[in-house]
Assembly symmetry: C2
């Protein structure tokens, strides 16, 4: 049925009707007073959500643009960078650093596993001459459904002294991230995840240490220049024309987050993740991440023997209108993922696991749908 869909991919996430309506407000002058008041308020709200006292810049770009901004504003070609990767978005962060001439060393963990702070500490301890200028971390690895212990990882890096750069594109708002308390120097997020806003905006915060590093950072930057962004931010503007209508939407998305309360938003995502994992396991399916750091924003499920991700997702969408995500990189065919971040509630999880179960049953997979549903209801509490 046309337009009848339950979109459960880990971004772009479903956008609330009130946010969509806000995106349809008439255009204004991006150097005029109405606009400037909006940008100033959004920057204040973003700082609160980032849990930082520092300036948060709004870039017209999707998340990857924010990651590129993180690299080029604070580093120079030849700088040694340690990239901690647990999946395809960790790899992407490393790719960007390498493309801009950083000397990238990768500390890789098996896909489906979180990064081990002890191994990171061991590697950093070897770096006695403090060659490593920055450590790249992924908060929530969307491709595998794993959340890193950023607090512990960052503590290890702070001891060493390198900059801590965090890709929290699919983490922020869904999962707690305490930018200032945890000593995170650069944090990147984007509109189309738990902010419940259409894609096209990326957000980036920088600590005082990061701003100091910028003074000597020689990678080329114009569009991503945070110096220019800050200079214009002081007059309530952006250096380049901003995506005004997406910012209208963001205002409403943020108002919804504030209304629910950030801690309650985290708690809701914990419930959604717990429900999804409990149901999947009770049904007899296998999670990719069978550990305490499975993500509360996205759940990755191994495809049952003999079925590809594409086959399963096509069937679930065709029969029930539930849109799921496939795997990425080396897991493209072997996992499928339920995105449950942003404008998603418990009912959506019940629906998703039910439809997945019924579909797999119809495809001949021995799943216990009833047990799955019961586990989900119990986990809901």
């Amino acid at each position: 049925m046309q337009d009848k869909q339950l979109l459960l991919i880990p971004g772009p996430t479903p956008v609330p009707p009130s946010v969509l309506r806000a995106c349809a407000k008439p255009m204004v002058n991006h150097r005029g007073p109405e606009y400037m008041a909006m940008q100033r308020q959004l920057e204040r709200d973003l700082a609160e959500i980032f849990q930082t006292k520092n300036y948060v810049a709004i870039l017209t770009a999707s998340g990857t643009g924010g990651l590129e901004a993180a690299i080029v504003n604070f580093l120079s070609p030849g700088d040694k960078v340690l990239s901690v990767s647990i999946g395809s978005f960790g790899d992407r962060f490393a790719t960007i650093a390498k493309a801009f001439g950083a000397n990238v060393e990768k500390l890789e963990f098996e896909w489906g596993q979180p990064a081990d702070p002890a191994l990171l500490a061991a590697r950093l301890a070897e770096d006695r001459s403090k060659e490593i200028k920055a450590v790249l971390l992924t908060h929530n690895e969307t491709s595998t459904g794993v959340t890193n212990d950023v607090k512990a990882l960052a503590a290890v890096v702070r001891e060493h002294g390198a900059l801590v750069m965090v890709d929290s594109v699919s983490g922020l708002v869904a999962l707690d991230l305490q930018t200032d308390n945890w000593g995170l120097d650069v944090v990147v997020a984007a509109s189309q995840k738990a902010f419940m806003t259409p894609p096209g905006l990326s957000f980036i915060s920088a600590s005082e240490r990061a701003w100091a590093a910028m003074a000597n950072a020689t990678m080329p930057r114009v569009y991503w220049s945070l110096e220019r962004a800050k200079e214009f931010s002081e007059k309530g503007q952006t250096p380049w024309t901003p995506a005004v209508t997406l910012m209208y939407g963001l205002e409403v998305g943020i108002a919804m987050i504030k209304q629910e309360g950030l801690q309650n938003v985290f708690a809701r995502h914990r419930r959604l993740g717990t429900m999804a994992r409990a149901a999947i396991k009770a049904m007899g399916l296998t999670l990719l991440a069978e550990h305490a750091q499975a993500s509360n924003a996205v759940t990755a499920i191994r495809c049952p023997e003999g079925l590809t991700s594409k086959q399963i997702r096509a069937k679930v969408q065709e029969k029930y209108g539930v849109v799921l995500a496939g795997g990425q990189g080396k897991l493209t065919d072997s996992i499928f993922r339920i995105g449950h971040l942003g404008f998603v509630d418990e009912t959506d999880i019940l629906t998703a696991v039910n439809c997945i179960g019924l579909t797999l049953e119809s495809m001949g997979v021995p799943v216990d749908v009833a047990a799955g549903m019961e586990a989900a209801r119990k986990a809901q509490g």
Copy 2:
């Protein structure tokens, strides 16, 4: 009165209600079939509007991002680039090339004047060793309201052999630009100008010669990589999450352009420009560009003695709700500009010149409003 505004700045331009409504459609999977069909159609339509047979990439960024993409995809650090500048956007294009390590030589013309093809030809003739790899041109210089003769300038560059890179951010759709016929290697445009769509999308086309140059171009690029964009375009996707809702809007904006007919759109902008200039002169005010290459997308007016741009614009907005633009760079205080591109018609011009005239009269400037209105009506034909 709240929300009662006539937005006449040269971007972001007023967005038609039907485009805004389209931007409020629900989110879909950016790797799913509905999305892919939309992207494919948009790319075909953009190629038609660019008047090219080549692929046109859609980037999630505003126009400056598109200019950065033009530089980094086709050039290497150290490459000699000749930047033809007639205003602040020409300067910006040069700034980007320089930031990425190009050896930039500027060929500057007085602000308010177009570039002289003969002087460009003379400079290129001196370059016997063909050191110059690219020439940067501005189609329509928004900051001064001047349109370059891109056809003539490009012909001169083609004779030399350098790549022709054109910033047509505020030109395309409002003014004729024949990408293939005129031999333009790289052309950049953006959504928030004559496409009548909110800001956040940039478009870029590249000729076969440009694609060949890309193979040896070593400037760093990830987010702006047209190789990646093309690779994903072949499956109807973008490498990074696209601004889906802005693309919904673009579909409707383009449908309106096709409905009116591209040649008729050019003719409308010619009428709007002719009306604006005739009225301003008949009123007794002075145009910045008193020549045949005054822009049909934006008109720049010198501030009468003793008044700044800011004072005039504030008064026109306060009294009549008409939003005008100030000057840029060295002309910030001394000119004001009427944007008349995109969703703008003859009635808007009549309103604008009337309100400007009445405001200046009330500020003690000796203007002949009646003569201005009559000239506008006559120019409308």
